[in-house]
């Protein structure tokens, strides 16, 4: 069995400051990650550097095949030492990549209205998913065809304020509709993105819906409460600090339901990062 997960090196193409503290970085790999799927991530580090010590996990924002190799794109926010170091990378810098890692988003073929709900930097993995769905990459036999059961993708993007909204251009390109919310009302709906969804859900056929989400823990928790009594499948991409990224160190554990034990710890890197929202447990 071919092992898709591996270690490789890449070259930074560019690393662009797109908004305050937010960067889009693209890099070229000649091996590995060719078939990296939405929801997966990589562990990335600058080659030859041990400070910061650990690699950082970044969700895939884009995966493109070119003549030169595979191009990976990341949209990330500088939140600490590691992401700050990544933001200093420029074209030509060499990086080491471990990936593709984690379980991707699972597409549900009998649900044709996909809702992607993102808070803040959670927009990154869901944008790649939106592009993947729009290009019908899971249905190669239907690409370029007008199909009767065309998929509808609605993207809900929430941020604290208008200036914090990132990644809008890409989602507008690939989604049927984009719904924006800001906590302070400076753009779109005034309120949280889950409040916006709640309003809209009233007018939608739940039997055709499936939800995918990524964002701050508080948002995911609200979402889980919102859909608790609804029969809408929902997958969420979770996050925890990581060291190994491959399920060996047990550092990134989160609490999940367990059929026989009641609950157990699962690894975000290897059992996730995508989880069924109904399996998540909250303190």
């Amino acid at each position: 069995m071919e092992k898709k997960l591996n270690l490789g090196s890449g070259c930074v193409i560019e690393n662009v400051n797109v908004a305050k503290d937010h960067f889009v970085m693209s890099l070229l790999l000649t091996s590995i990650c060719k078939d990296a799927l939405p929801g997966q991530f990589v562990m990335i580090r600058k080659q030859g550097v041990k400070d910061p010590l650990l690699s950082r996990p970044l969700s895939l924002y884009g995966v493109y095949q070119t003549d030169a190799g595979t191009v990976l794109e990341f949209l990330y926010r500088v939140v600490g030492k590691g992401t700050w170091a990544l933001s200093r990378l420029t074209g030509g810098d060499q990086v080491d990549i471990l990936g593709p890692l984690g379980k991707p988003f699972e597409i549900l073929p009998d649900r044709n209205h996909v809702i992607l709900l993102a808070g803040g930097i959670g927009v990154a993995p869901l944008s790649y998913f939106a592009e993947y769905l729009a290009k019908d990459l899971d249905r190669p036999e239907e690409r370029g065809e007008e199909t009767a059961s065309a998929r509808k993708v609605s993207f809900y993007l929430g941020a604290t304020t208008a200036a914090a909204l990132v990644g809008i251009e890409k989602i507008e390109r690939f989604c049927t509709e984009v719904r924006i919310s800001t906590d302070d009302g400076s753009a779109g709906f005034a309120g949280t993105v889950t409040e916006l969804l709640q309003q809209d859900l009233a007018g939608l056929d739940h039997r055709n819906l499936c939800l995918y989400s990524c964002g701050p823990a508080a948002m995911i928790r609200s979402l889980s409460q919102l859909i608790e009594s609804l029969d809408i499948p929902c997958q969420v991409s979770m996050e925890e600090r990581m060291a190994c990224g491959i399920g060996a160190c047990l550092g990134c554990s989160i609490k999940v339901r367990d059929a026989s034990l009641g609950w157990s710890y699962c690894q975000v890197c290897a059992d996730g990062p995508v989880f069924d929202i109904k399996n998540l447990l909250w303190e």
């Binding site: 270690l7 400070d51 010590l53 160190c249 047990l250 554990s253």
Partner: protein, 303 residues
């Protein structure tokens, strides 16, 4: 080709590169990256009698040249290890060492009894940094009496080589080492992690849910090296050096002060192929200097 083989208390290794417990899972996790059979030995995640859930998150935080971990000894338990992990490990041609832990002295004994007859278990590494829950939580390895008790009990039920992994969070590690040797340990490994802490200045809470955790990585290497040197000068049994080893150069420092072998831990997170790079670096160093046997290096510190 230089001879890298070493003898750890009766266990013969083809080279001195071992993987540190807790950093290498149960071995199979690293199979995509290296040929596991190239290693000197694999030491698996510490095993308790019953499965342990481990600590609530957050469990890890990076620090300067290191990281803190408070995993909480999460493991599948000895029964699941034997049934679910050993079958794969038996397919390998590298010694598998079971690290064992306990909340009371009897637990160590019972785990040793369960593991001894299992085909493929080449040795036991006894983790005495665990809190002795029956005595208020002081680590077994913090005083000679409790360390001796654990080691004697394990030795009484096994004929496998017994390596005892020492805690550095003690006043005099050489004294503990001597005590453990007198209790019958076949080899020692040191050091385990050093207790440390890190704080989130925005939320004003510890970064770890457990508050404190074990420090590992390059930051601890000077302490580990000093402790290995101190212990080597006090005991006759082989000493395995652990603590912040990132490359062949670090490995050589430990061998030169007297370690017979080393364990590679945190380095595996930085590069899952670290162990093999270290092995190749060691060979290159020896070939360049026409050193034919690793024992020409071990314990050759001039001072």
């Amino acid at each position: 080709m230089p001879d890298l083989s070493v003898d750890i208390g009766g266990l013969k290794l083809k080279n001195p590169i071992m993987t540190a417990s807790g950093t290498f899972g149960y071995g199979e996790e690293y199979a995509p990256f290296i040929n596991l059979n190239d290693l000197g030995a694999i030491i698996v995640k510490g095993l308790s009698l019953k499965p342990r859930m481990g600590n609530p998150p957050p469990r890890i935080i990076e620090t300067a040249s290191g990281m803190l971990n408070a995993i909480g000894l999460q493991n599948v338990g000895v029964q699941a290890f034997i049934e679910k992990k050993m079958p794969y490990l038996r397919t390998l041609e590298v010694p598998v060492i079971a690290n064992i832990l306990g909340e009371d002295p009897e637990e160590y004994q019972r785990i040793a009894e369960r593991l001894t007859p299992v085909p493929g278990v080449a040795a036991l590494e006894v983790n005495i940094s665990c809190p002795n829950v029956s005595k208020g939580g002081i680590a077994f390895g913090a005083n000679p009496e409790s360390a001796i008790d654990v080691v004697r009990r394990v030795k009484s039920v096994t004929d496998l080589p017994v390596i005892v992994k020492l805690s550095p969070n003690v006043t005099d590690i050489a004294m503990i080492a001597e005590a453990v040797e007198s209790a019958g340990a076949d080899a020692l490994s040191l050091i385990n992690t050093i207790t440390g802490m890190s704080v989130d200045i925005d939320k004003r809470i510890p970064h770890l849910k457990n508050i404190t955790g074990g420090l590992s990585g390059p930051a601890i290497k000077p302490i580990a090296l000093r402790m290995v040197w101190q212990v080597v000068n006090r005991v006759k049994i082989p000493v395995i050096g652990v603590g912040g080893i990132m490359d062949a150069s670090d490995t050589l420092e430990f061998l030169i002060v007297g370690a017979t072998a080393v364990q590679i831990g945190t380095a595996n997170f930085i590069n899952p192929q670290s162990t093999i790079h270290i092995l190749n670096g060691l060979l290159a160093y020896m070939e360049k200097r026409h050193i034919r046997d690793i024992h020409e290096l071990i314990g050759t510190l001039k001072c």
